[in-house]
Every structure is written in C-alpha cells, then in structure tokens.
C-alpha cells in the first residue's frame, strides 16, 4: 500500500493460485473498495507441454497420457484422443466397444459435474454440499475402479482401437445400482437449492449471447446464454446419433442458469447411460493389445467432442511415422478461464468472485496442458 493512498483506492488482490477456492490457477484482481475494476488471469501453473510430449510417443502411449489432460474428466479426454487416432487410421470400432465408451464417457461427465457442484458449494461456504457431492462421487469412482483398474486415472482405458479390455462380469448390475443412487443425489441437491446456490448465484455473472460467442464460450456456459449447441447432437460421434437425449438451454446467462443446466445434464446423462446399457450386445470383446511397432497413416484429422466443460478437440497430423507429427489439443478452458473470466469479473463484487469463477466450471489442467 503506497503512502498517502487509502487502501480502498485500488489494490491488487490475488485470487489463487494457493487459494482453496481457485484450483491451480490465479487471477489478479484490481479492486476498489468491494468492486473489481480489472482482472488479469495468471495461467501456466500446470503447463506440462502435452503437445510436445505427444510427439515423442506412440498412439497407445499417448492414450495413457491423455487421461492427464484434465483429470477431472479423464475418460472424456481419453475418448477425444482415441477418436482422433481412430479417424486418422480409419479403424472400425466394434459396436460393443462404442457402447462401453459412451457409458464411461457419460459417467465421467456425471462425475465431473458432481465435482463442480461440490467445489462450487465449498467456494460459497456451503460445506455440507461439498461433502455430500464428493460422497456420491465416490460411488462413481468405485465403478471406474471395478471396470478400468483405477479410480481417477483409467490409464487410457478408452484407447485407439476400442477399449483396453472388456468390462468385467457384474458391471451392468453395478451401473444400474449406481444410477439409482445418482437419482437420489439429484433430488437431494434440488432440495438444498433455494437457500444456498440460488441465493448466491442468481443474477450474478451474466454473460450475454454475443459476448459468449465473441469470447469463445462453449458447452454449458454457452447454453446458459441461450444458444442450443452440443457437439453430441451437431456432429455426432460414437453412438450418440442413435440415442435420445435433450439439450438443456436457458436464457438468463447468469451463474444460476449454468448451475441448473449442469444438474439437468446429469439427469440427461443418466438417461443416456440407461439407453446405452440396453444396447450392450453380448458378443465378447477382445482386448486391445499395445504395439511398439506400426506406423500411423499419413494425414490429418480434427475431431471435436462434447466434454463436461464444453467443446474439446484434437488436431492430429501425421507424416507416416509411428509418432504423430503434431497433436494440437483444444480445451474449452483456455477460452473460459481467460477471455470469459476476465470479462465477467469486471464490475463484480469481491464476494461474488467465487460464485462467478466456479459457475464457469474451469479446469486449469486443460487450459495449460
């Protein structure tokens, strides 16, 4: 604080990166009194250089690496990468493998939204919501442990060629039990809403549709501003064109609208998993054997998927070697955490910063890569 200046005349407040409510990411806020007048994002704490790392590894090894692109929704990122390699190579994926991929991707989306709800509650001070959410998330992780061999890191379970091994005996029954628990969870969340999330998030952080498009918002952030856009419906992949699900859209564009959309998405994902379970055929699925030799065909491909946070894409360029020549990873969070966040925080009150920040459901890992 400079001499002769009052503290309220504009000081810098760091929100993160060692803040319990901000993840591995910092925002430098310039605050006057209680109001934020400028925000500057400070990214880079999780930069691991994935795009360069992937140039030195074969596709199967990259599949193992792709979980770590954003650990909060690792199976979704496995799927984008696996699809990019499959499309480049022109591989035919067996129907059973596609169905398993969709089931796991949707469960991963549900699990990611549960984390979002928990951390949003924590950031707003509603500790019970945090504990209940993470308690329910544990049931989903138990299922992942049973199927893929790891709770949080599935180690490239969804890999180029299908899935690494078939689902074990008893998975279908466990998924049905899990879905019943998740429906109970949604009712619990809705019951708490009116006194907690609604009070802190209504009317906060309003993002107009033109701003959303100009700043590059995708996923629930864009759908809360009024545009119905979802890659699963607009450019369907895997078995999504055969499944029946709705895309929740709201007009208000505030933090509460984004919350409602994510909760509705959990319900829609449960519906998708139920339909996919019904379509699981009985033929046995051979495991995908990793190879150390073998070259990728020459070519390039750009694959987009809808992950929990928005639109994820992989651009894969190969010149006929065993490693990709260039692997560009596009995550939704580079746009959400820098242009959108900086825009929304200007003019907000300091007490609303966590609500706006977490309503965007950011993940520093897929921004920094």
């Amino acid at each position: 604080m400079a001499k002769g200046r009052r503290a309220a005349d504009g000081y810098d407040l760091y929100f993160g990166p060692v803040h319990p409510g901000s993840g591995n990411f910092g925002v430098k806020l310039t605050v006057e009194g209680e109001r934020v007048v400028a925000a500057r994002a400070d990214p880079g704490y999780l930069h691991r250089g994935f795009e360069k790392l992937m140039e030195y590894r074969t596709p199967m090894q990259n599949a193992v690496l792709s979980d770590r692109l954003c650990i909060l929704e690792s199976l979704n990122w496995n799927l984008v990468h696996a699809e990019a390699v499959d499309r480049l190579c022109g591989t035919e994926i067996p129907e059973r493998a596609k169905t398993i991929r969709v089931i796991l991707a949707e469960l991963s989306r549900i699990q990611s939204h549960i984390i979002w709800y928990g951390v949003l509650s924590k950031a707003l001070g509603f500790d019970t919501g945090f504990k209940v959410a993470f308690g329910y998330r544990d049931y989903v992780l138990d299922l992942f442990e049973f199927v893929t061999g790891g709770r949080v890191y599935p180690a490239g379970y969804i890999c180029p060629g299908g899935v690494r091994r078939d689902i074990p005996e008893g998975t279908k029954r466990r998924i049905v039990e899990l879905l019943a628990k998740l429906e109970r969870m949604i009712r619990e969340f809705e019951a708490y809403d009116s006194k907690t999330i609604a009070v802190r998030c209504r009317g906060i952080g309003v993002l107009e549709l033109d701003d959303a498009l100009r700043l590059g918002a995708t996923g629930p952030v864009l759908r809360a501003s009024g545009l119905s856009a979802d890659v699963r419906r607009d450019a369907p992949y895997e078995i999504y064109d055969d499944l029946d699900f709705e895309i929740p859209v709201r007009e208000e564009g505030d933090a509460f609208a984004r919350s409602i959309i994510r909760r509705r998405e959990i319900e829609e994902s449960i519906r998708i998993v139920r339909q996919a379970l019904g379509r699981l055929t009985a033929e046995p699925l051979p495991p995908v054997k990793p190879k150390t030799a073998g070259k990728l065909p020459e070519g390039e491909v750009y694959v987009r998927n809808e992950i929990a946070r928005g639109e994820a894409a992989v651009y894969l360029r190969s010149v006929g070697e065993s490693h990709p020549y260039r692997c560009k990873i596009r995550g939704p969070d580079l746009l959400h955490m820098i242009p959108v966040l900086e825009h929304l925080l200007v003019g907000a009150e300091v007490a609303d910063v966590p609500a706006i920040y977490w309503s965007l459901n950011i993940c520093p890992a897929d921004m920094d890569r």
Binding site: P43, G44, K52, G216, Y302, Y315, Y325, P339
Partner: protein, 172 residues
C-alpha cells in the same frame, strides 16, 4: 433429412470458396472440409468464411516444418447454423513469421490462441494487442514447441544430476 440439407449447404459453401480463391477444397470421410490457401489470400479467405456463417473459431494451430522452412497455420472454424467444420490452412515463412491477427473477425476467442502460439512457436500476429507470455515465466530461450528445440537435452542439462541412479535410463 437434416443430414442431406447439411451436406447440400456444405457443398455449396465449398463451391463458393473454391471459385472465389481458385482452389479445390477437400471433404474428408467424416464430413470435415479442408482448404489450403496461399499466404496472401489468408486474410481474405478467413473474412469470407466469417461472412459465410463460420462464427465459431474453434482453434488456431501452428505446425512446424523446419525442412521446408515454413510454418503451417491452421484455422479450425465451425458454423453453428450449417453445422460444417472448415479448416483453412496456409503456409508462412518460418524465418519471418508474421501474419495478420484474426481478432477483428472472431475477437478474443481467436486472440487467446494467437497469444499461446506466439509464446510457444514465435509467430507474430500483427494487430493482436495482447501477446504477453501466457504459460512460461522468465523464459528467454527459443520458442519451445519448435522442432529444433531439443527439450530433452535442455531438461537433462538443467534438472538432472550426474550420479542419480533413477535418471540413468534417460541419458541415451
């Protein structure tokens, strides 16, 4: 029905781009469209695409071709209305890598990608007001994602210790 309509609109769109810039757009098996333009036509082509309804700039990327002394820029554009993915590719000189920014067309959604590419590849985007470093702090070496930056040598020299038994397998 919707799929056929979408295909028809895509075909018309590519026809227009092809005739305007004298090119042959390529449609891949999955329905994505790829167009390679000359460096001097890049700005016009992107502006044309924006006018044709490609309002979402999904990603901007650079591929390094050191043997050919060029950088290949790829702009991946999506149209929410016609549901077509168009990639515009162009090669620029690697030594003097400067290109006009796409901010006037797509705003910060393209600008943030340009900022990242400036830091990691060293491409200059003229007209982008904010090309401050994004991820790396106090980095004064060459742009690290270029193919001629040997990051393994850098890591081995900077971080690894000589006698550490755990690091022997990396020294090959």
């Amino acid at each position: 029905m919707a799929a056929m309509e979408s295909e028809r609109r895509r075909a018309e769109l590519l026809e227009r781009i092809g005739s305007r810039f004298d090119l042959e757009p390529r449609v891949a098996e999955d329905g994505t469209a790829w167009v390679s333009v000359r460096e001097q036509d890049l700005g016009d082509c992107l502006a044309f695409a924006k006018r044709e309804g490609f309002d979402h700039c999904s990603a901007v990327s650079v591929t390094d071709w050191p043997e050919e002394e060029t950088f290949e820029l790829t702009y991946h554009l999506w149209s929410y209305e016609t549901k077509v993915l168009l990639t515009v590719k162009s090669r620029i000189d690697r030594g003097k890598a400067t290109v006009a920014s796409a901010i006037p067309l797509w705003g910060p959604s393209a600008g943030i990608h340009e900022r990242e590419l400036h830091e990691l590849f060293g491409v200059e985007f003229a007209g982008n007001p904010d090309l401050a470093p994004l991820f790396l702090e106090k980095w004064d070496g060459p742009p690290p994602f270029r193919k001629d930056f040997d990051w393994r040598a850098y890591v081995t020299e900077t971080f690894y210790e000589e006698g550490n038994p755990h690091e022997q397998s990396y020294r090959d």
